[in-house]
Amino acid sequence: MTEALLTVRNLSVDFHTARGTVHAVRNASWSVNRGETLAILGESGSGKSVSASAVMNLLDIPPAEVVSGEILFEGKDLLKVSYEEHRALNGKRIAMIFQDPLGHLNPVYTVGWQIVEMMTAHGRPANKARARALELVTRVGIPDPEKALKKYPHEFSGGQRQRLMIAMALMLKPDILIADEPTTALDVTIQAEVLALLKELQAETGMGLVLITHDLGVVAEIADRVVVMSQGEIVEEGSVREVYHHPRHPYTRKLIGAAPGKGEIKQPATDAPALLEVRELAKSYGKFTALKDASFTLSRGQSLAVVGESGSGKSTLARTILRLEKADSGKALWKGKDLITMSPRELLSVRREIQMVFQDPTQSLNPRMSVYQLISEGWDIHRLMPDRKARRRRVDELLEQVGLLPEHAERYPHQFSGGQRQRIAIARALALEPELIICDEAVSALDVSVQAQVMALLDGLRKKFGISYLFIAHDLGVVRDFADMVLVMKSGEIVEGGPTEKVFNAPEHPYTRRLLAANLDPDPDVQAQRRQMAATAPS
């Protein structure tokens, strides 16, 4: 093999904390060549994002320390070049898409400005940059791109932000693109478009792509080679097909075995009493209608999945029900009482019964509270579990249930990986033992094995305590396995709804059909077949 464009060799990164050293990355080696796509799969918290940050020189040193290794780009060790030299490479030659798109966009500048800056920072003329920004934003499927460029990050949905981030990274046609979970918040149709865009660019410029992902479907669709990471180490490496069909490491085997979408579809219980009835709920931001007359019923013990286009108003629906946004009209009856018009007092008493896991876990965790404080706060609020020891035990238990360690309780949110934070948010929602949990893309950042574990936990709780779920997700496999009812949203409207089986097997609305068709299969061979079919099919 010739010298790769980017080679990471023996990279080890430690974090020094008050409670000891965390070995985040241990002797990781991988490389990516021009025109090649390397997928990094791995456990949540296994050091994927940290190694990407190391390549970009974004680690805070200290507390982080690069203990060993080298990062060779065109033969130069990026760990040794000067700050200024590295800066000149960043964005222009090596670009990165961050895992957590809200926090990584500057809240006080328009997204247009931020995207354009990618080019102006490297001395390109602003007018050219603007034209390219417009082109790319259109390509990633943001509606009304002209206007969108003038808006601020908080005015976009989670998936839209992620796409803006992708557009930003592609501005300068970098030689290497490191994409950290670039499609976690995208519905499958848009995901397909984005992947197509990446491929196209790759063909055009010979870009090397490092794709950090949990989605085996995405890997199957786009990657050439795979490395698998676990506990900071690389445990397996090979071509996509090789690894999928002949995994050697037990973790890899577990991972592939856990891929969702293969189980039996559940049947909704028919006799359960209604818990939440939403009637013609509507919400608009200025002139833009984000939610149009949404109506549905959620029964006790049911799990209702909401799927749909990114930006179609799923999060808005959840937030409006919870009164985080003021509804324009409509009702949301909780056990018969309207949440929308409820007095603040009454609302407060209902709060405990409905919990939410936010789409953006990082932002939803108070940075000044330790994990223990975050999880136990609900008990403080509702005066539950006065016994400190019991609390401690319960926190440890919850952490373990979501796949974290008891000792994580003393850490603060910024010391975790994206997936770990998401699990902290889930643990926090579970701590209050609510009757309804609204999960907004709650498992999107988890690798499939942890995801399976968490889903099993949620399902178990449903069976045991009759907890209901309003489950917003884009991963159709997960939805298929977990939900017994499905709503499909598009452009602020619920276009289809019904039992999972019906929606999956006999979709009515054209959008639903498109959606299902765009779903990716984790098997690379299946994906290759489909690609071929699509290519030969008459358009």
Partner: protein, 304 residues
Amino acid sequence: MIGLIGQRAIASLASLVVLMVMVFFLSRLTGDPAALFLPIDATEEMKQQFRTLHGLDRPVLEQFVMYVWDVLRLDFGESLRRARPAIDVVLEAYAWTLPLALITMALVVVAAIVLGAIAAFNVGGIIDRGISVVSLIGASAPDFWIAIVAIVLFAINLGWLPTSGVGTPWHWIMPVAVLFIRPFGLIVQVVRGSMLSALAAPYVKTARAKGVKNRPIIFVHTLRNAMLPVITVIGDQAAALLNGAVIVETIFGFPGIGKLMIDSILQRDFNVVMAAILVTAVAIFIMNILIDIAYSILDPRIRQ
């Protein structure tokens, strides 16, 4: 936007009325201007004559009604001591205070933001320590020290600058420099602290991943996020300057509103006090409106 400003203006007008009413009654609780205007051995008749002449012998409520009536006709009364319309006296002084405050604040804002941001960026380093210690000493040293030492040094020993007074631009250098020091020290610290939090935000990482240079990272990406408390403190310090800088005016013989206000308060020259507060309050209210507009310009999330 215009509607909002209009609404604010009306609300501010209400505060202005409250302020003036408070000042009117409170100031009249603090003693008799006649005794202060007239010599110590003045007779009771003279005092009575003075009170009658200025309507001070009437019940306070009646005085108040008369005052309001006059103000509605834009007559702010005569200075008890100066035999001139109070508003003239005040505006004359304010014509000096306003440029002094604006020039000083402009310099302070630029210098403090630049140095505060640099200190935050180099947190814990020698530059940070240097900037912090120097600015803090400036912020806590008695200003008359600095003023008098400056006069001794620059006017007497070196002979570079005039000791005091107004007239040429040279005369402005020392007052501006002395006034500069305290707000500078304060704002440097606030900028530094606020920038420290902002620099830890993830969007700074994005900017670095984009290859943005340090300077724009500090002054474009982070600073704007850190500006909320900064402009609040800038406003506070500007308000202090708009209220007049007594020490500097006293020492440098600068004919601003600060000394006028103090003298008028100590002499119970009510009409001048009222007019002075009216003028400074209007300036401060306008500044606060500008600051609130600045908030919403700086942070789109606050816009409602």
